[in-house]
Symmetry: C2
Subunit: 215 residues, 2 copies
DNA sequence: ACCAAGATAGTGATTGATTACTACCTTAAT
DNA sequence: ATTAAGGTAGTAATCAATCACTATCTTGGT
């Protein structure tokens, strides 16, 4: 998409502090996808924005502060996307499906996110980062398990389903798809793989149409 | 487990070249688990073995060569473990289950492996590393898909199962469990989570006992 | 059996490159 | 004119890699 640093706003420099902060977060995620989370230097960020490295530190006190801001941005955006998708569901399983594809689409647009969240280099050092990641993970799993429990109550999911384990499998499904698209770069389109994989997952969840067919 | 470098062989230094190479691979994986793949320095390796940093480069031409050796070690060991587990299976689904738990156990003993294989910092630069990882992934997926196809032929798995998608879900399941045990360090035992999650996966695979009961 | 000669493994110091971060100066926009 | 955003030019630390040298082991000729 771009071999040269940035030509989006050729002349325009001197952004407001808020806009510059947002752009730093944006290019950080972009670079993290291109070259790996731990190889993003403040110099890289500056070049990608067309400013000098020193300018970065006018807006963030430290590099860790940048990563913290990135994670907070991810948390806020992800939760908003998932919440919006789930709200449109007609029933718990429909909501689950919408969340899944919304999540895949979101990550397809920001492929570095899983790596940022799982980078030991980040949450291995800074306690605040670690807590933020844990919060996101547990919150997400609870949301899935909750939907599954609702589905059980409505007779849509197996009564004997281990909802916690099923939530683990759900998150693994997302993670596995991300992994594939990351390692087999471009060779497979994550959205198509996702569309094939979700029905398999549903088989594990859904109440089977048994002898008695209702309605 | 150890606050001081190493006391296994207190006086013994001067290992043979082969032994030293193996030890470098060993401590590299250990350190990658402790501090993250990209934060393992050659100095760290040397300290963990009780030698000086320069000694490391007598046995490997570069740091990339060390990671290549680590990945080859992982490939060889993993394939051996999986092959052995699968060979004991009485039928394809039994083999699948044995492979799953063997994989989980292997990774529980070497928690850094998934991170090594998925580190962009590694396979983003070196073409040989990237190819090795791709080879491992595709080979693994083909193995799973093959077992599932066999299971279909024997009437153990759904006839309409998308075996490729099911293999993706399988790998995701492993990945998700690793992710959880990595982020929620110690808070959950990966083996117990695995034992709960696999049955859910099986539900998606297994031929359902329909109206007609065979035998 | 001996031991000199070569081979091998490890040391310690250093290199150049890269890193996050800082102090001070300049300029554009209101 | 003020001031916030960006530029310039550093610093100290860390990194992989190199190199001259030393310690230890192995071996072949006598």
């Amino acid at each position: 998409m771009s071999s040269e640093p940035e030509f989006n706003q050729p002349q325009r420099k001197r952004l407001g502090a808020d806009e510059r902060r947002e752009e730093i977060i944006r290019v950080t995620l972009e670079l993290a996808d291109k070259q790996g989370v731990d190889d993003v230097t403040t110099q890289d960020m500056a070049e990608a924005m067309g400013v000098t490295q020193g300018a970065v530190f006018r807006h963030f006190a430290s590099k860790d502060a940048i990563w913290l801001a990135v994670m907070q941005w991810v948390r806020d955006r992800l939760m908003a996307v998932l919440g919006h998708a789930a709200a449109q569901g007609r029933d718990p399983l429909d909501a689950l499906q919408r969340m899944f594809f919304a999540h895949i689409e979101f990550i397809a647009g920001h492929p570095a996110i899983p790596r940022v969240l799982t980078s030991r280099h980040l949450h291995g050092r800074n306690a605040m980062l670690r807590q933020l990641v844990t919060e996101i993970m547990l919150g997400y799993e609870a949301k899935i398990a909750g939907l599954l429990t609702d589905a059980q109550a409505q007779g849509l999911a197996r009564a004997d389903l281990d909802t916690h384990a099923a939530a683990t499998l759900y998150i693994g499904m997302v993670q596995g798809l991300v992994l594939q698209s990351s390692i087999l770069r471009g060779r497979r389109a994550i959205e198509k793989e996702a569309a094939r994989t979700f029905p398999v997952y549903l088989q594990a969840i859904r109440q089977q149409p048994s002898q008695e067919s209702p309605s």
